[in-house]
Amino acid sequence: MWLTRPFRERSTQLFLGILLAALATVTLLNLMLPAGHPLHVSTYTVTLLGKYLSYALLAVAVDLVWGYLGILSLGHGAFFALGGYAMGMYLMRQIGDRGTYGDPVLPDFMVFLDWEALPWYWLGFDMAWFAFLMVLLAPGLLALVFGFLAFRSRVTGVYLSIITQALTFALMLAFFRNEMGFGGNNGLTDFRELLGFDLRSDATRLGLFLATGIALALGYVLCRAIVASKLGRVSVATRDAEARTRFLGYRVERFQLFVFVVSAMLAGVAGALYVPQVGIINPSEFSPIFSIEIVLWVALGGRATLYGAVIGAILVNYAKTVFTGVMPDAWLFALGGLFVLVTVLLPKGIAGLLAYRLTPRRLKRKPAAQSSTPGEASA
């Protein structure tokens, strides 16, 4: 089965092992140790980690299209935000009549902007299954339509990057409009509960953290499976020589579309897990700068490795958390400097650094090792 293929890879086993061990450790340290204990992990930290993990999933999605398909999407924030909004709309509906104005159906922002009734696109979001479906479908459909148009007309390279940027920018402006019915600049906030669990309780927060971790694990395995399949090799072929791949008889645009849509859906899931943990979704997630930042996480971690994306996302965001607290006036210097140095000095990112340290040994031990090639792994 192509889906189970990654479980036989050493790198995936290692990744999953570390991830699951980390999840378990955090959970134990949070639950078992008393609050005053020096090793206790506070719920604040758990939520923070949960946020990093959702970013990591987003980075994996971006790495799938950028690293393996060669499509530099500067608009993946849009899919992330759409997933987030789908979740946010569900959470808003869960508030029910506990809002400030006590309206049983309309969210607060609609009440004071005089909406008479729920707009049609809000219908159904009171049902969890529908909302969760939309978490996948909304970004998926957008990616499908956009990708269909773009890949069909063979928009490539920088042109594609720029129009993905235009896409997310246009969406940001649209969602800023209060007439759109998504809460305008304030976005959606003041969430109460998810599937009946109180979002403010520590247990729910821990649960969300674990759910995000598991989603990351599953997302990683899915991406790994795609990458290790023949389809993954077609993607790499497309990345490196698109015309050649076409002459081999592959309908390149369909492969691009398929991977792009999968990636968009993963980004949507990441967004949906992000929103309940940070407690707000607003149009700034659509901002082109955010999308560029995601790409930077991937570049920093190491492109076309998947685990590099995870490392990059967690590292940059951790640095952000630390620096904005420790050196609030100067953290942009640090962040900017980090980006410059890594791109110039570590073209393959941190993963490249790790691989560099590992490769010589492996080559010495087993030249042209069969197990190291994806082609063989599939045999």
């Binding site: 920088v158 990057s161 570049a299 100067a330 900017g336 400097g337 980006f339 110039v344």
Partner: protein, 532 residues
Amino acid sequence: MKIPPCLRRMLVLCLLACLPLAANAQDDDGQQLLESLDASSYAQMGVAIEAIITSGDERSRGWLEALLGGKLQRHKETGRFVVVLENRGRDWPVVDALTGEALGEMSRRDLDRLGINNALRGQLQGALAVLDLQADGVSERRQAARALLGDVDATLAEPLTVVIDAEEDAEVRRLLQQALAIHRLEEGDLAAVDALAGSLNSRVRSALNTASRSEDPGLAAAATSALADIEQKMKLNRGLETLYFGLSLGSVLVLAAIGLAITFGVMGVINMAHGELIMLGAYTTWAMQQLMPGQPGLAMVLSIPAGFLVAALAGIAIERGVIQFLKGRPLETLLATFGVSLILQQLVRTVISPLNRTVVTPEWMSGSIMINEGLSLTLNRLYVLGFALVVFAGLMLVMRRTRLGLEVRAVTQNRAMARSMGIRATRVDIMTFALGSGVAGLAGVALSQLTNVGPNLGQNYIIDSFMVVVFGGVGNLWGTLVAGLSLGVINQVLEPWAGAVLAKILVLVFIILFIQKRPRGLFPQKGRAAEG
């Protein structure tokens, strides 16, 4: 020719409603006039201003101007009236309002300002305009006459007829007659409608609008039909205006994008710090104005080379420090230069200030030129439009007619070949990047006249710039020009009916769809080489 002194004297006499002239007024009188200004209500102040106008005191103009500018103040303890020369900071240099004697600096704590409101401001401006009607320069008289439109009241009507008869300049006469007609219209004179018919001036239209709601059905009907005529004429005006708005916005886009068309289009460097180079140009303008206080115009002109230099030097630093290490990895230049842009922004925040800086608009760039009464083009934008075209033409010249341009084209088309022919590719890279960056600096100089000069300036233009370059076709300067101008016009045509936000969204969607249709922009590079 000027109004002869005897006539002027007569006019003033009329204007002053036959009050006794106080040619050699005593200081007590002046003190008294100013005392009466320091009243508790604006109504009383209005009376006092009237009194100053009619006093004929030769210092009255200075007082009125100081009052208008909020510079006429009173020392709290001594009650002395002073005129503040410069009112920034905590201590202000002042002169005595009565004697003109310099009194050194006074703390603002010790001074009380004689405050005015908009109603008084209108009264003062009207009064000053009347005085200006006797100015020597024709343009000043025209301006004064234009200011009087809608401000004529019964007391002014009579003397104005005298002035009109004496006035030599036809335009001033016409304006004054219109001003009089508006006054007569307000009094219900049906004939005045004819005198005003066809004028596109907004105050005339305002007066006609009022008249069209008048109780007198005849007057209302006449005014309404006159308005309908004017409306017809205004339609063409509005079309032209929208076109101008569009071209103006377009020129801003072109300016912002043209530097990028060089660094990105020609060199293939995705320079996310482009916006910050624009910002540097704008800050240079600010710095030049700080260096040359009181001469904003000269500073503005000098900032053109200075802004170019500063941005070009920054560009060279970026090229040497970052981009040269990323040859052949265009997408990674995006990442590294994004880091550079963060650093530059924060640098400006830390070194200069997180706050916006004031860039003064020089006299010759403010206001607008009037094409006709209903259509005037704002000067600053006109200059920017012209500047954009000049910069574009200059760039075309550099690329087409100079050795550098030739070398740049050679290196971008075949680097190895160019090198083997003795072109120093590294030097060409530096020069090209410096050129693109310098042009971004020029954009910054221009933008300082239109928008905020602050750390976020660059961020607001970077996305638009990329859209313009891509829409026009990467590597094609003409494409950038046409793309910028047409996007500007499309935006401004859409804006009135769609609103500002929706217009922008529609433009973006249009670009996305257009790229589907023509994946390499408006003017794609053709042939086999472009496929590489």
